[in-house]
């Protein structure tokens, strides 16, 4: 979608997005919702890389999401590291974990891959829950305000109004990265491995290496989202492994349609707007989220964009 838009238009849209919370009244709840949408969308983009371009379902991306959160909170609380240092640590930790998990699952496909990534997430949660080094079941409380400075100029703060510029920047950087990834050699090889593995092999693409590379590339994206989430909540605990985040990222990806640059962002925005402004209680929201996820795939497996195609075809044939 974005590929057809010119760069200046994309920049203008990005700049416009920055002023969305201010234009919508600037109330704290609006800033909170926008920041949350940006953070969770970045989290979803990590899983999107696997689902859209490799065609596999990773149920283990909550691990990387939590890794980012734990890295930020532990280093900031225990050692007083600044934002840049904790972000770097979050990336390194996620890459290391993704290498291990990627190598273990290298030979697995389809549901075995999903089962094993899910199993890994369960193990990680059990470890986080029981290991006092990671705060155990209480988690880590009192994460200090985020401090990010560059050449003396910088942002610091813990309120959502302070965090919004950073969340916006992180989201824009992620979008740019995904845009570049789609046109990169790795991105096209990944699609080829998904669509026609035999052809990919015949053209000299090493499918396993591509799968591992995409998996390792995706992990730091979700980790950076978790990193910012730790500062937003000032608390990190084993609840970052909850299936809520897993179901949310999958729903955000499929709701509009896979392999669309802005798909996961719009999907996340729809979900969070519903849960923030039109909530019908925690359990009710669960029913909505799960039902939307199932209904979209059962009725329009291509996502809502598939509905658009159908409508466009009808219009054309009637005209």
């Amino acid at each position: 979608m974005m590929a057809r838009l010119s760069a200046p238009l994309a920049l203008a849209l990005a700049a416009l997005a920055y002023f969305i919370p201010a234009v919508s009244g600037g109330a704290p709840v609006v800033y909170a919702a926008c920041t949350t949408i940006a953070i969770l969308a970045v989290m979803a983009y990590g899983a999107d890389l696997i689902l859209s371009y490799l065609g596999e379902v990773s149920l283990g991306h909550t691990i990387f999401w939590a890794t980012g959160g734990y890295a930020a909170s532990m280093l900031a609380v225990n050692y007083g590291w600044n934002g840049w240092a904790t972000a770097a640590a979050a990336i390194v930790a996620a890459v290391v974990l993704a290498c291990v998990l990627g190598l273990v699952t290298l030979r697995t496909r389809e549901f075995v891959f999903s089962l094993v990534t899910y199993a890994a997430a369960v193990v990680a949660m059990e470890v986080a829950f029981n290991w006092s080094f990671l705060g155990g079941s209480d988690g880590i409380v009192g994460v200090p305000p985020l401090v990010l400075t560059i050449f003396g100029w910088g942002v610091s703060g813990a309120a959502n109004t302070d965090l919004w510029p950073i969340a916006w920047l992180l989201l824009m950087a992620t979008l740019l990265f995904i845009h570049r990834f789609r046109r990169s050699r790795l991105g096209t090889s990944a699609l080829m491995v998904q669509m026609n593995p035999d052809l990919a092999t015949a053209l000299g693409v090493d499918a396993r290496r591509v799968r591992l590379a995409v998996f390792v590339t995706s992990a730091p994206i979700s980790a950076l989202a978790g990193w910012l989430y730790a500062y937003q909540r000032a608390y990190v605990g084993p609840d970052m492994f909850e299936s809520y985040f897993l179901v949310l990222m999958l729903t955000a990806i499929v709701i509009i349609g896979r392999r669309l640059l802005l798909g996961p962002l719009i999907g996340t925005a729809l979900i969070i707007v519903q849960q923030t402004f039109f909530s019908i209680g925690g359990d009710g929201d669960k029913i909505i989220l799960g039902a939307v996820l199932a209904a979209i795939l059962l009725l329009w497996p291509k996502g809502l964009i598939g509905l658009w195609d159908v409508a466009a075809r009808r219009l054309r044939s009637s005209a």
């Binding site: 689902l51 065609g55 596999e56 379902v57 273990v104 699952t105 030979r107 697995t108 389809e110 549901f111 075995v112 999903s114 089962l115 094993v116 899910y118 199993a119 890994a120 369960v122 193990v123 059990e126 470890v127 029981n130 299936s243 897993l246 179901v247 999958l250 729903t251 499929v254 209680g281 359990d283 009710g284 929201d285 669960k286 029913i287 989220l289 799960g290 039902a291 939307v292 996820l293 199932a294 209904a295 795939l297 059962l298 497996p301």
Partner: protein, 284 residues
């Protein structure tokens, strides 16, 4: 620690794992469908039996068959919705759909049955047997014998009857089976209904061991993952062996090393096996 007692515990645990896993094994083998709502179906079955005992006042022995029947009907409805994707063998979408179903079931159960833990009591749980230092309940005996019986019957049906041949042919190659006039859609429905009914039976026999919670979902049956994959995808005998092996492992690991990390240890075993043998232990 009494080793014989731990072996008994392992057998009891293992028969529970195998029983809860069996529906899933058959479903995976025949339809290549991973049902991520498995845990929520287990939870729902336990709560339905509990509600039947509390609200209708029926006995445990009526409540469990009622919940098996209800889950079987739910299975028809769920499979009906998924039929198109199953016939296309769109496995990626199906996995995500079942995750969505699970989330809906969990949210609905929390709304209907509340968020508090409940006691799903079986009269057999209170009747215990003491042999010297050894101890077990009649519930354990029924679970063990029931599991062995169910596996025996299932093995006979799958390998020695025409119905079993239908299921196996669809599992092997659905398109070819359809060319031979086999109604693959009906086989898929039958298999999914069996999965739902089997997990309900598993819940009826295993869930009374501990308090039931609407949020227990997948974590409660998470070890069936290990059983299904370790036993080899779709292998009935393999899952029985894997179930008992895992039961022994959890009982001994919990008693000797650390109860808190049992699940993590079981998964590490699974990960190791998958690195060495990606097809599971039963793979040729």
């Amino acid at each position: 620690m009494n080793l014989t007692q731990q072996v008994i515990n392992g057998l009891v645990l293992g028969s529970g794992y195998a029983l809860v896993a069996i529906g899933w094994t058959v479903l995976l083998g025949a339809a290549r469908l991973v049902n991520f709502a498995h845990g929520q179906l287990y939870m729902l079955a336990a709560f339905l039996a509990w509600a039947a005992m509390q609200k209708l006042g029926v006995s445990y022995f009526v409540a469990v068959p009622l919940s098996v029947l209800a889950l079987g009907l739910l299975g028809v409805a769920l499979q009906g919705m998924m039929q198109r994707l199953v016939m296309q063998q769109n496995l990626t979408s199906l996995m995500i759909v079942t995750l969505g179903f699970g989330y809906v079931i969990q949210g609905s159960a929390a709304r209907i049955f509340g968020g508090d833990p409940q006691t799903f009591a079986s009269p057999l749980e209170k009747a215990s047997v003491h042999l010297g230092e050894l101890w077990f309940t009649w519930q354990d005996v029924v679970t063990l014998v029931g599991t062995l019986l169910l596996f025996g019957v299932l093995w006979l049906v799958l390998n020695r009857t025409r119905l079993g041949a239908l299921v196996r042919s669809v599992a092997e190659d659905p398109k070819l089976a359809q060319l031979f006039g086999i109604n693959a859609a009906q086989v898929y429905i039958g298999v999914f209904v069996f999965e739902c009914a089997a997990v309900a039976l598993g819940a009826g026999l295993v869930a009374p061991r501990s308090p039931i919670l609407a949020s227990m979902g997948f974590d409660e049956v998470i070890l069936t993952f290990v059983v299904v994959v370790l036993g080899g995808i779709g292998s009935v005998g393999g899952s029985l062996l894997a179930g008992f092996g895992l039961g022994m492992f959890t009982a001994l690991f919990g008693a000797l090393v650390s109860p808190a990390y049992t699940t993590a240890a079981a998964f590490l075993v699974l990960l190791t096996v998958l690195v060495v043998r990606p097809g599971g232990l039963a793979a040729r």
